[in-house]
């Protein structure tokens, strides 16, 4: 059973209500399903399609464009090593080489125990702190071979449970729009007049 669970359906409905058109919630909802299951399952995509009134093919069509969505089981920890210019200049190739040896797997695959998936990644916006990597999208800066080995040890021993949530969880808190303060949405096709406060006159 990999459809969204009851709690996540409530979260999903709240997210959908924030957008003038339901399909805009597609990416946030696929993230939600990936948070629940660790990767994006076919059932979850069908469920998302039902929630936003599109076909499952449309959900897959959009989701398959984006790199963060994974469609096969993924390690609990996804390690992305950046290889774009700033990191490449500071030794990213050597870091990847070391990582492959430490983990005993090639970039793009998962360790046999299913704990860690290693991946090559592109620029992570931490260029001054090169070489960098992200573990489940949490940054690690100026990573040395020793620091990498320590990271792997800590992930294996569970020492980082509190710091690094399992793969799929992005932000650990979500925006909560209070009902009594929300302006709410209107269908863009149904609006003829602007909100009362907007009185834009040509200068």
């Amino acid at each position: 059973m990999t459809r969204l669970n009851d709690h996540n359906v409530l979260v999903a409905k709240e997210i959908i209500a924030r957008y003038p058109k339901k399909k805009s919630a597609l990416i946030p909802l696929v993230h939600l399903s990936q948070q629940q299951n660790g990767y994006v399952t076919d059932d979850a995509m069908r469920h998302v399609a039902e929630l936003i009134d599109v076909t499952p093919a449309e959900v897959y069509g959009t989701a398959s464009f984006y790199e963060m969505f994974r469609f096969e089981p993924t390690g609990k920890y996804l390690i992305n090593i950046c290889g774009t210019m700033s990191c490449q200049l500071m030794g990213a190739d050597a870091l990847m080489h070391h990582a492959e040896h430490t983990l005993g797997v090639r970039a793009g695959s998962t360790t046999p125990d299913g704990l860690i998936t290693l991946q090559h990644a592109e620029c992570q916006a931490a260029c001054t702190e090169a070489p960098t990597l992200q573990v489940n999208y949490r940054h690690r800066y100026r990573v040395t071979p020793e620091a990498f080995d320590q990271l792997v040890d800590d992930l294996r021993s569970g020492a980082l449970e509190a710091v690094v949530p399992p793969h799929g969880t992005l932000a650990r808190n979500r925006q909560q729009i209070p009902a009594d303060r929300a302006v709410g949405v209107t269908d863009p096709d149904d609006v003829t007049e602007g909100p009362a406060w907007i009185q834009v006159t040509p200068a």
Binding site: I27, P28, T84, C127, T128, Q134, I177, P178
Partner: protein, 479 residues
Amino acid sequence: MSTDYTENTDRVVSPLPWAPGFYPGDRPQIVTSRFQYEDGHTIERYHATGGYEGLRAALAKSPADVADEVKNSTLLGRGGAGFPAGVKWGFTPQGVWPRYLVVNGDESEPGTYKDRLLMECDPHQLIEGCLIACYAAGLSQCFLYIRGEMPLAHERVAVALDEAYAAGYVGTDILGTDFGVDIVLHTGAGAYVVGEETALIESLEGERGMPRLKPPYFPAAVGLYGQPTIVNNVETLANLPFIAKEGSAAYTAIGTATSPGTRMIAVSGHVMRPGVYEIVNGSTTFRDLLYGDEFCQGIRDGNDLKAFVPGGGSAPWFTADQLDVAFEGPEAGAAGSMLGSGAVMVMDSTTDIPAAALSLVRFYAHESCGKCVPCREGGTWLYRLVQRIVDGNGTDADLQTILDVGQSICPGDMPHASSERLGLDAVPFPYKMTTICFVGPSAYVPIHSAMTLFPEDFDALVTKRGERRSIPVMAGAGE
């Protein structure tokens, strides 16, 4: 491997661990003034440091007056194109509702590293900027699109939004006025091309992030859900609280007439102190930035400068000949490049230039959305050719093929810097392009710059052909 970690242990580390890479310095600070506080992301600190006063000042005036104030400040967009924000707002048609603000927080240009800090260290400043923009341009809903790979920024902005809703800054009847607007936080899922504004809108509509055909050139007329839409970069919006509070005159007093204010520059690569610096716009030069004591403090290990990328991975490269170019768009353009997103990547004399160019060509080939053929096919072709040359299996014919493929993406003269050493004159920016957006040309730019400015590095590689070379890790070799 030509590069080894141990060479780099003497690099200076930022004194502010919560704002990694940031160095304050003794300069005017418009957008980074709260980076010095560890709790700069909380509403308490924001209130204690003049927060939301810009919004109060704006709400005391008419929206048109606030828009004029921004127009007078000549605030230039910080996303890469450098278009004046106030002018862009003016492109929205009158009397068409609803209209939207989409905040471009999908920063992923190679080397760029400013929007993430702005969102993580001072999210309320961004929120206040969004509110001022919505008020001034008459926008009825705001979507804050944050790159998926930045969960910390997402967490900080989500908490800040909750605080701002509770305090009455966002939502209905803001600060007791009729003005009301929702700000919705939206997460991306990893695609560089979504930084292009029409692709950002497609992505926000739940589609594949492919840029839309132009015209219309600006989504201000037809954007999100077919309605008027303003797309602004995070740093652009972060400047608005200052402009609203202090006035446009205080803003234009900093920097030069054509490039007022400050801008954030990230310098990475082979410098002593790689970092993010808020510099005075217009007057600061690349020499100040790379060699100045308050900035990067020179090239690492006392090496010479070989080349640098002046404005993010898509910008043509500069060498030591262009160090005296200032952060002034037209000046950089005449010198053959652009200032782009404010990212400088520095290569010292030990750099393997073809390999460095390869890392960028691979990036853009990988990030092509596949909509335009010259980019989809040409980018991948370029990547394979450059990989072959770097592997030591390239030929003279491959070098020519690179130029031919490049011509099909960017027909005509390709901009590049001048070189005293080679007796080359500069070809000014910009290039012509056969694609909708800049991803296609960006795959060609780095390899064109590298081959134009350092032909000998490529000649050395192709003449070594036949010599046995190690297979790079990415291609799949073990020990």
